[in-house]
């Protein structure tokens, strides 16, 4: 049993090794690092300011309160931050394939997925994560729900699942680079930006849009449903419980697409 887990352990170890190296080289540019962090925080604060300004004049949006919307924002920030900090390399996949640099990765005795995601580190993600967690903390503080141990555990699972969905969407769309031989393809960015919609309660959208972000590209499970859970809104809590499954499903699909892409790359040449 331990032997079968070994490649997994090695993979994780090497991932952190590679990531660590990237971080070291970035930290060498200290000024840049600080500015990146600062800019990420400013962007998120702008969003917070926006909601705050609106809620000065209206009590709720479609029945959703200020702190609930803040929590949705926070979840988008946190998950985006995790993506930037730990999986930034995914954005480079299109370029890596197009330039032939991906060959390098195939020649090494390490999983190419790990090498790709560790290829870059986006420190702005740190700013996003910190701001996000601050906001979600505030949101939780303003939730009238009773926090039992089970509930807290579920919260952790939900945040982890939300991040997983985000990362999986990123990986799956980036893998389009195996077929679309354009180094800066629109596909990953297109899907990523859909997250903008998930900053607000999905009830404001038309049915079509709702179907899009619940079923097709499940951003609703990143922010909306977990928020419902945090605020104890039973009507929406059932879908919230589906979130971990959605996460696993998305991850599975993303890795499958990546594997298929790799197979295509290996047979069709470049």
């Amino acid at each position: 049993m331990a032997d079968r887990l070994r490649p997994v352990r090695r993979g994780i170890y090497l991932y952190f090794r590679l990531l660590g190296q990237q971080m070291k080289s970035i930290l060498a540019y200290q000024a840049d690092f600080v500015v990146l962090l600062f800019s990420a925080v400013v962007v998120q604060l702008a969003g917070f300011l926006f909601i705050w300004t609106i809620f000065q004049r209206i009590p709720s949006i479609n029945g959703w309160t200020f702190w609930q919307v803040v929590t949705m924002y926070a979840l988008i920030f946190i998950t985006e931050g995790v993506g930037s900090l730990f999986f930034e390399g995914t954005w480079m996949l299109g370029w890596l394939v197009w330039s032939g640099q991906f060959d390098q990765m195939l020649v090494r005795p390490v999983s190419p997925i790990i090498q790709v995601i560790a290829y870059r580190v986006g420190f702005n993600g740190l700013g996003n994560i910190v701001t996000g967690f601050t906001l979600i903390g505030l949101g939780i503080a303003n939730s009238s729900v009773q926090w039992s141990a089970g509930r807290v555990l579920m919260l952790v699972v939900l945040v982890a699942s939300a991040a997983t969905i985000r990362v999986a969407l990123n990986l799956g769309t980036a893998a389009s680079g195996f077929w679309i031989r354009n180094p800066w393809s629109m596909v990953p960015m297109f899907v990523h930006q859909l997250g903008e919609l998930a900053k607000y309660p999905i009830t404001i959208y038309s049915l079509g849009v709702q179907a899009l972000i619940v079923v097709a590209i499940p951003f609703a499970f990143v922010s909306f449903f977990p928020t419902a859970f945090i605020f104890g809104l039973d009507a929406w809590s059932l879908p919230a419980l589906l979130t971990p499954f959605v996460a696993v499903y998305c991850l599975f699909v993303a890795v499958s697409i990546f594997r298929r892409g790799m197979r295509n790359y290996e047979s069709s040449g470049h």
Binding site: Y13, L14, R17, L18, Q21, Q22, K24, S25, G100, Q101, D103, Q104, L106, V107, R108, P109, V110, S111, R263, E266, S267, S268, G269
Partner: protein, 345 residues
Amino acid sequence: MPLIEAKGLTKQFRQAVKEPGLVGSLKHFVTRKYTDKLAVDHIDLSIEAGESVAYLGPNGAGKSTTIKMLTGILVPTSGSLIVDGLVPHEKRVQNAKNIGVVFGQRTTLWWDIPVIESFNLARDMYEIPVKRYKANLAEFTELLGLGEFMNVPAGKVSLGQRMRADLCMALLHDPKMLYLDEPTIGLDIAVKDSIRKFIRRQADERGTTVMLTTHDLGDIEDICNRIVIIDKGKIIHDGGLAALKDNYARDRVIHFQLARPPESIETIRAGLPTSELTTDGLRLSVRFDRFEHQAGEIAAVVMRHVEVIDFRIDEPEVEDLIRKVYLGQLSLTSAGEAALAPAGA
């Protein structure tokens, strides 16, 4: 039991036939047309452990495609390929542990971090035992002169330094096979020389099997004992360098410098019926097959008819030979006579 054994190895690519521009793209979307390109055509290749093989061919001949299949990056269309008992593309990770690769145009080092950190990462990736890693690193650092830029990021070192670091990177884990793709391209003579010596030494000392693709014939002469030439997907020569020269580079040219222009070329020609004479003022050149005549013979005949001040002999140039193959002027049929295509064909 050969280390690398390929039988009937084939790679066929499907290329979409698309007219340029937007109209072409739309048309292609509707009716897809493909051409099949046979990059590697049922080649048989057998390499024993410890050999150093030069893999040559004009651009587009199928060299990189073959190497990609050997390294497990590309899946063959048909045929069998076994490298050290493994099928490369099926057991990619295991195969990767056995091989070291140096791409002349791209580096295997991480761009933004110091060279030594790339080496440390290699140690972790290939699970090199610490003692072995330290020993190898020390040896390569000394032989390749890496000490002076060990702490510089790969993106900031010169091309020559980068190549040396890439070589070190490729050999740290004691691979059984070393693949080199244009390793000395763009380097100055001194660096080329030291790199060739280094590779030769590693091959001799560790028994590493080397496979080298290059356009630089100096690489071949210094490193390899066997040449495989591929053209249009097929292997057209597979044998030793000496045999290649003996079989196909049989021409020699003696250039004579004369005291006076020769009175009659015809008389000289009469004495050397199977040779080719050209004359230009005070110069006379004789091209002859060295298996038919010896240089001394030729010189003797010439000097009987004219006064010779000086002369020099051109050795058979593998470079010329290969160039002729690339230009299609020479088709190497299997270990037989080289057939010369008429000039201008």
